[in-house]
Symmetry: C2
Subunit: 367 residues, 2 copies
């Protein structure tokens, strides 16, 4: 570790763990040695990340008995079949209950490797090395793991905490522009949930972030992780406040499912979802026109879409939202905004206004 490394702690009692943020960390043997207790490590990565970072990680894991699984890249492979491939690799390598599963890659790799760690022999050690902005700010905090089912996204999984998260900011240099923007969608989300100063910081710093300036990225990652860790620490199993983190996600999942997994990036769908949440909040009288315009403007400046694809009509989106797991006791719950920098979870909204947002937004009256 070096001077610019930041360390946060996600406070979950016995399951607390640190997040390390800084350049070059994935090649540093010291963090691995501190947090990997056994001698067997299964590195799970994908075809895109493997040529870039796999050897460096393996070199830093010198002294451990290593095995590797290289998955195909993409959300469409976040499936039970691919998850089984990790489990089978663990069995074929004869890995025992003291082994560690290390996820090297983005959110898809992290979700699948995490669920494999949660379910192999009823749970083994798990370490996350996220290499995308999205996974560094989002999937590495909160312990959500899972895979998709043809009938719904993230329908199978577990809450399972890693031993540590290693967010190497230098790994973002190889990220393509679309992935970087997708990560920024989640960053913007934290500002909207309950951190107005951070939202305003993002309004001032969107260009440095898009230019991948190290200081700006590092600050955005740290602040996002802090915001998320605060929410998660208060509500590990998502019974209440944690649902705020789903801002934009119920709309977004409907878009992802409707387009078929892998067409839209998760962050792109969430970006549109936040714009739709702002639109519905405005229709409910909770959010003014200016606030809505600021949200749409910042999302657009992050080079993200602000409206759903034209071939998904309102009725279809509503149908897709109805099967989403945020539906509780038959009532749909959404995260909506009550003023800039303040969101809430609610099922108290007029379904006619929701239909108006789904049918009209991005098609005529706003964009």
């Amino acid at each position: 570790m070096n001077a610019v490394t930041k360390t946060l702690t996600v406070d979950l009692g016995e399951r607390s763990y640190p997040i390390y943020i800084g350049p070059g960390l994935l090649g540093d043997p010291r963090i691995y040695r501190e947090h990997i207790p056994g001698r067997q490590v299964m590195v799970v990565t994908n075809e895109t990340v493997a040529p870039l970072y796999l050897e460096r990680v393996c070199a830093a894991l010198g002294g451990y008995q290593l095995a590797r699984v290289i998955l195909p890249d993409g959300e469409r492979y976040k499936s039970l079949e691919i998850w089984q491939r990790i489990i089978t690799a663990l069995l074929e390598a004869r890995f025992d209950r003291q082994c560690t599963v290390l996820a090297l890659g983005g959110g898809v790799v992290g979700d699948m490797a995490g669920f494999a760690a949660a379910s192999y022999q009823r749970g083994v050690n798990f370490v996350q090395v996220p290499t995308t902005l999205l996974s560094q700010v989002d999937s590495s905090v909160g312990g959500k793991t899972g895979v998709n089912h043809p009938l719904g996204k993230n329908m199978i999984g577990a809450f399972y905490q890693p031993r540590c998260v290693i967010a190497d900011t230098a790994s973002l240099d190889t990220l393509d522009d679309r992935q970087l923007s997708a990560g920024l969608a989640e960053v913007i989300k934290y500002g909207l949930i309950d951190d107005l100063p951070f939202f305003e910081w993002l309004e001032r710093n969107m260009e440095p972030l898009l230019a991948r300036e190290a200081d700006a990225l590092s600050h955005a990652i740290e602040r996002s992780c802090l915001d998320k860790a605060r929410v998660v620490a208060a509500d590990e199993l998502e019974s209440g406040r944690r649902a705020l983190l789903n801002l934009g996600h119920t709309f977004g999942h409907a878009i992802e499912t409707g387009m078929g997994y892998g067409e839209w990036l998760h962050g792109e769908a969430v970006a549109v979802g936040m714009c739709m949440a702002a639109d519905l909040s405005r229709r409910l009288g909770w959010f003014d026109m200016d606030a809505q315009a600021r949200v749409v403007d910042l999302v657009a400046r992050a080079r993200l879409p602000v409206a759903p694809p034209p071939d998904l009509d309102g009725a279809r989106l509503l149908e897709l939202m109805a099967v989403d797991k945020k539906v509780q006791q038959g009532r749909m719950r959404l995260v909506l905004m009550q003023g800039m920098g303040h969101s809430l979870v609610t099922d108290q909204f007029d379904s006619g206004l929701l239909r108006a947002t789904l049918s009209g937004y991005g098609r005529n009256d706003v964009c």
Copy 2:
């Protein structure tokens, strides 16, 4: 509930839950109402149990939105494919995160329904209604859920606690003799682990148990659950003392895997495993001839096998044991006996003596 119902509590802090033991409980609406918080219940059962008890359970669940999955019967169906069938049924019924999965049946149903509850939407409520002696004394306490993989038994799963366990002793009236004996294997195990008075009670009461006398069965279930709950409460995640519950299981799993799942009942394999553990303990000088004879005698009186099938030779058994998950850091750990009514977990044994037990036991020098 009536006067003869016994209630135990498994003490696991926030995850504590009660076990109800008594005749007729599965048809009593009151326990369900007390422990099922949402309105959706998915009853998971199998083809054998469904005609006997499904309607009675569904009648007692009047007022809930019910769905059912009826699985094929047998250990060979404890697979990922069948587990997926439960998940798909939950999605097709549009069950939400507040739903409850209720397992009605033996250990296989409980293990699969439990893993489905643990992994559906990252965890929903779970209620167990075990209908075999084995599941009433064993799988209903401890939170182990899981499915088999072609490369090993119970290799995929989670630790997941039920909201409550309802052990209806009247359901044992329909159990076939072979299943009753398989359950008695686990009952005997508790005596051997650390409850000599219970072992001696079993020596005096094996005949009443085989005759399914209600008082005897009820006492055996309660005592077994208490013995297991005490061990589990001290060690929820199986890091130490809980491993004692695996007495006979490392040998037993090798037999089950070697024969192909479903040929031998789990309890039958464990019965032989306990006899083999007694044999190895005697070879190590920890257990005398008389003690070994008492173990083999009680197992035989419970109408259980005391030796492995002749077509599984010692070398094959050793190979199968090596992949078992109780292997830690490359060393095989076994539960062995140090005197009657006292077991311990150890990797300190001569592997030559283990080979002698695996090759010789039941083939020449003992039986």
